[in-house]
Symmetry: D2
Subunit: 145 residues, 4 copies
């Protein structure tokens, strides 16, 4: 990822500040490093589907948020072009799910990120692979010396 004087934490904070959706879902941005992030979410009753398990869309939302913080950590505005998720085990009400994102590759305007979602017992809940596409500009203004 190209050099920026803005830290991954500052990028992350700027993104999260206006992110209504992740706040509504009670997500916590645990950490952000260059190309990586950790985000957690507690499964509430209003996240359950008709089978009483965490709705797949909520698990996806958690992974997608970790993906966003990882691929935007270099202060280049970057969006998801596509994602693949595989569901391994259900999430249950009261579970704390944690998504860990890491950069697999980045070249030109595109990148590949892997995100794994675990529950509080370190059981694998889902694997997610995201494809990123970099836009022009910067998230936080770069200060030129």
């Amino acid at each position: 990822m190209s050099e920026s004087k803005v830290t991954p934490d500052a990028c992350s904070a700027a993104m999260h500040e206006n992110d209504h959706a992740t706040k509504a879902l009670g997500m916590r941005i645990i950490s952000t490093t260059l190309g990586g992030s950790v985000v957690s979410m507690k499964v509430r009753q209003d996240m359950l589907n008709g089978y009483g398990s965490c709705h797949g869309g909520m698990i996806f939302s958690l992974a997608d948020t970790a993906f966003a913080h990882a691929c935007n950590s270099g202060n280049k505005p970057t969006v998801a072009s596509g994602c693949t998720i595989d569901f391994i085990a259900p999430g249950k009400e009261g579970d704390t799910l944690t998504a860990r994102a890491s950069e697999r590759s980045r070249s030109g305007k595109t990148g590949i990120y892997d995100i794994e979602v675990f529950n509080q017992n370190e059981q694998l809940i889902a694997t997610f692979r995201g494809r990123s596409y970099q836009l022009k500009g910067s998230i936080v203004p770069e200060v030129i010396d």
Copy 2:
């Protein structure tokens, strides 16, 4: 899909009744047929991400719900094993997004479903392909004559 005396509408109603997540997101199940469904959702402020667009997880949730109603329409409890989504255009606050699901194939315990998400101007927002896995039992009890 195998024969059932329970209608797709009845399966859909039984699933939706206890689906806290789709109700919290204000989704409407417009219609369910054997192997298909149409579900809509209005993009609210609490669904926006840090870029002011509809969070990808919310678009995924809508498509995933249409997928669930389509693949459960034959009264066989069926879950998502995995999904792939490609984001084509952003959703905006106030948009009404509609997901249309259709069965591409189903054999043995697995199936493939295609879901497309459009906005109120019939602009394609996302394409989604879901893989289903059928469990034992039935959603609504089958009445035997």
Copy 3:
């Protein structure tokens, strides 16, 4: 897709001329239209896997070739950035498999294409979704009036 005076057939012919791999696999480019193509291949013994079915890589190769002819039909050199394939039924020795590609969306430098592979009995063998990325230049030189 942007306007070009070069026909889809001419793009297709130029691509196929130097395509050693598709020739080695005996593929036939049946037709190419703007955003679409049809390609067929007969399953030979040297395409079988250890289970006596057509190797998944050969089915993928057929679909990927149809994808390439579809996404290059506008005379803009375009490559695959990623693909998802789902295998529905096995291909058998002697089968003639046909892949039909169609453009789902294209905007900016990226596109989404759906390819379905059928056997000679119109049985669905595999579904394939491809993501394309457009490079600079043209396949066949554009003549300016």
Copy 4:
């Protein structure tokens, strides 16, 4: 993966013996362990596409073969239900590509495997994620004491 007295190497050898496709492509099964495998292939002229790079279908075939050896290593006949591949960098004529497969999860009849393809300079060429589905029976007869 469930216990078997048949070694991963024996499963691999039994599979490879009748695998016409991988032999035609000159693949070498470097190693097979429980849930993992390493397979290599030299890029020949008859594997090149119209752009002079290794055809995506050939890279997929290599990864898919590594996937097959990994998911069949426990002596349970297992097939690919679906795969996602992302192309990172092109393969060139004369390159030796190596695919390394590892099991991400396996429960019930389904599993998730990650395969990465590198060239001889350890440059990442493609990432591949495979979904497996276990059939009945065994690859090599189990000897009961």
